[in-house]
Amino acid sequence: MSQLNRLARGGRIDRSRKLSFTFNGKRYQGHAGDTLASALLANGVDIVNRSFKYSRPRGIVAAGAEEPNAVVQLGKTEAGQVPNVRATQQALFDGLEACSTNGWPNVQRDMMSLVGKLGGKFMPPGFYYKTFMAPASMWMTYEKVIRKSAGLGRSPMENDPDIYDHLHQHCDVLVVGAGPAGLAAALAAARSGARVILVDEQEQMGGSLLDTRELLDDKPADQWVAEALQELAGLDNVTLLPRTTANGYHDHHFVTLHERRTEHLAETAPLKDGRRQVRSRMHRVRAGRVVLATGAHERPLVYGNNDVPGNLLAGAVSTYVRRYGVVPGKRLVLSTSNDHAYRAALDWLENGCEVVAIADARANPDGELVEQARAQGIRIITGSAVIEAKGESRVSGARVAKVDLDGFRVAGAVETLDCDTIASSGGYSPVIHLASHTGGRPTWRDDILGFVPTLVKGVSAAGGAQGVYATGEVLTDGVAAGRQAAAEAGFEAASVSLPQVAARRDGAACALYQVPHEKPTLRAPKQFVDLQNDVTAAGIEVATREGFESIEHVKRYTAMGFGTDQGKLGNINGMAIAARLLGRSIPEVGTTVFRPNYTPVTFGAIVGRHCRELFDPERYTAMHQWHVEHGAEFEDVGQWKRPWYFPRQVDGKTESMFDAVARECRAVREAVGILDASTLGKIDIQGPDAREFLGRVYTNKWAKLAPGRVRYGLMCKDDGMVFDDGTTSCLGENHFLMTTTTGGAAGVLEWLELWHQTEWPELDVYFTSVTDHWATMTVTGPEARKLMSEVTDIDLDKEAFKFMDWREGSVAGVPARVFRISFTGELAYEINVQANYALHVWETLFAHGEKYGLTPYGTETMHVLRAEKGFIIAGQDTDGSVTPEDLGMHWAVGYDKPFSWIGQRALTRPDTARTDRKQLVGLKPRNAKVVLEEGAQIVFDPKHAIPMPMVGHVTSSYYSPTLDSGFALAVVKGGQQKMGETVYLPMADGQVHEAEIVSPIFLDPKGERQNV
């Protein structure tokens, strides 16, 4: 394929390296150094997409991040699909496949364009708010049709094969943008010795110096760029990040940089040295100082049919010609309000193409570039502008007329010029997005016709980013910013001698945004402001007529600026139009607030490595390997993986959960079982005031607990609601070991520290987490003592080692602390050993335990067994609205303790003191076969009409193999006074279960089994 618009020489592409690619199924060729956009233009591809609302054909407008039209779908494979790629920022690679995101059956001939043409008239802004309302039931159907036209690209339907990561960076000076200002700033800061990061979004650093006509020290500007980059690359204190976008500026100079590491190579990251490469990397940068050298975006002019392919930004024309060696047409008309845009015409002409005319809106343009154009014989039509483009799928002409800017009217005859390309320039908008992210409201400057950033402490802007445009001044500005940033960061400023740039005399620009047409805006051909969202000047006019007067209202009503380009091209024009219509100035209409991201960022890059196997830590106990090998199913408890139950293989089949749990329960009640309880939080508490402290944070008394003894404790918050529980052992007079729930461990430790550090620093006590130091295994069941006696030297005599005692000794040859506490109601020994020995101890217990039927059990069996005993689980039987009294745990509350412990005062508040609160009870289903649903709601009157008054709910419910019956714990309004009464549980399937309110202790109410 020939590249019909490719110049024979010039540009920064490598003509010796040919790359082939496919667009909309057609094969083309480009060169190394091309973007997809420059390659498409080189091949004369005019239509790259169809517009969102009207399905109008659209071509490439810009050459960078501001491109609204050339947003394409990339990808050969399903998993490699990338939606919404800006062709202007996608480097061409060999084998690239892309297609338009809209257009059916294809982008050339789109059926929807008929709808757009015929129906467009009926789609003023906000039309959807005004219709589709009748009948009400039809909206969901209307919406289905509307959704058919939603969206640009499509999501891949297969999982991403690529990986992403983060790099935490810290630097003294971050310079954003490596154009003239950024390079100069980076040089100045780097030479001072500061740690510098220089970041630029483009494939190559250099910014405007890569396509400028100006000479630096009488040499092409890119030579100076190369020298500067070479110096920076050689410095240890400098990190250069090309292809990297500073996409978000967060508080205190935290900036995220999105580095695209392989997107210029292939759609999915190729292997490197046989290893996976990261597709993109997010640099999370904490900077000391930041220099924003982000340049400026050119504004297009708003005139009739300004969206027809062949309408380009003037600066983009220069970029394509000078940087990519592509002239995207033959006959150019330039429409401008300023001198700078003249370079597009000069670049065009120098490459052998025809400049039909320049329409300059100013009456007497006289800058140097204007003189050069005159000297070249270009026709300049002053006081005029292109008011309308002709053509449908490509520009075929330009209608030019004298315009009266003050009167906003066409002031003379219209001349139609024959051309295929219209370049326009309405001036420049500093790129203030990043400064805007920090909350600073930009300010309008009439002298540069643009918003400049308001900067927080520690940030400076240099060059185009603050409206300084002349190259020589930009360089000086950059050096100053770099020096100042380094100095503020504590480095001695270094000198930088800058190259000479010939000063150029530019004439003043005029303010021109929307170009008047002969017809009033509402009747004129569409004048587009936001190309991606099909927002027109007429749309803005309708919005203001309807009372949408703030620019925020206008934007929302018309959807202006809500596209993927976020209004980079159109927002200022839109504001100017609204301002004119409302008779206000631009700053009076509002300001423009940008949010992150500057340009869209791949989710994967934000996620980094925190996905799949590394999404969240999995915490394991020291016996985890054993559990895995013995077929455990696991339950997630916080970040822990705990064995849930241990199904056996019976006749080649896996035992059901129901059967496994029943078997495990029986083993504990009839023989002996073992539980890995290592996940319980364990806090070592030492100090003379430890006992006093416990008395304040627990509801019950601790004054008399002797060394060698253990006690259960409840913890409340100061609102009187239970939040954690556990046992605490007195190890020595000034030494306690507290246990917490698995999920509550970290929270309880912080809670203790909080009270100690802020309220009671006078108490001498220290808290240290020892959760991971100890592995804990609970051996429980009638045979527990026999088993233990085989492996320990501790005297297990029931008088020597009583229930709620702890002893130390050795278990399986390992030093151990053993606690006689029971969460099952059976005889139980909780063995604690240093975790490194745990697996040995666990396996030794099994070696001895087989003859006693030692059975491992998991959390589910633990839940059944404890519920049979009426032991609560904080977080399951409580929900932050339950007091100790509600739980019937009066026995665990010391009202007469000298210190008003945490939670005590709140218990006497009127609502907390009510005696008809929801209280913990047992429920016995009338039908023993029924296992009530956990979460089932309880009512007294199941025949009551809906809404039916609910009096409580089931918190825990199981089948008990011991009772051979379903049973449950529940909270019921006033339940403690309603023993023996019947309650009802109406279920979703229409069944109504009946249950009797009973004591929550279903088994061994006197506690004889655990006390043997």
Partner: protein, 211 residues
């Protein structure tokens, strides 16, 4: 102090032990270092880890007497004895981490307790609950940059510094005992996650594991 129950959780008996990374080696493997490995990971298991709580002045005297090094009084301080086998690290204004060769910790605790007498302090043994992971090699720092939020640039993290900070989605104590070596003190239950993270993030540098 008799009011506190000390307990030697280690035994001299020949008992099989499993370090926190034992399971991880089985589960995820341990790629051997090659000539192309730009970073090497090594676990130093079964060391003695003690947490010291108390006032700096009181503890300093005892630590100097018993261990022969002075307590790092400045935040983020890490001191080692002459052969680098024993270290004391500042964790907080009243908290230090002491790491010694495995087996020394109980005797050390007893000697410290004796030296401290009636002062208010606390010593807790954490040896079973954490392990030490070393990273060495030219890419070690960049691997850390992928993993911890703290600034590990040599100008900010000189030898002799140690911090508690965020590592991926967990916590780590990060120390720099030598120019070319970093140490991560990792909690046992998070060790597998930390290991898998380091293997994954280190793949780019051909990470190898020395066992």
């Amino acid at each position: 102090m008799s009011n506190v129950a000390t307990f030697d959780t280690r035994t001299e008996a020949k008992i099989p032990v499993e370090s926190p990374l034992t399971y991880s080696y089985r589960r995820s493997g341990a790629p051997a270092p090659t000539g192309k490995s730009r970073v090497v990971l090594r676990e130093r298991p079964f060391l003695g880890h003690l947490i010291l709580r108390g006032g700096a002045i009181v503890l300093d005297e005892a630590v100097r007497e018993v261990l022969g090094v002075s307590l790092p009084g400045e935040p983020q301080g890490l001191v080692q004895d002459a052969d680098g086998e024993r270290s004391v690290q500042w964790l907080s204004p009243d908290e230090w981490l002491v790491i010694v060769p495995g087996g020394e910790e109980f005797e050390l605790e007893n000697r410290l307790r004796a030296a401290l007498g009636d002062a208010h302090f606390a010593i807790s043994n954490a040896s079973g609950g954490q392990t030490l992971v070393e990273l060495e090699g030219e890419a070690a720092r960049e691997l850390l940059m992928k993993s911890v939020i703290y600034d590990v640039h040599p100008s900010h993290f000189p030898v002799g510094k140690g911090v508690t900070t965020v590592f991926a989605k967990t916590t780590v104590i990060l120390r720099r005992p030598a120019e070319d070596r970093w140490e991560l003190v990792v909690r046992r239950s998070f060790a597998d996650y930390t290991y898998r993270w380091l293997l994954d993030a280190g793949e780019e540098y051909g990470i190898g594991v020395e066992r």
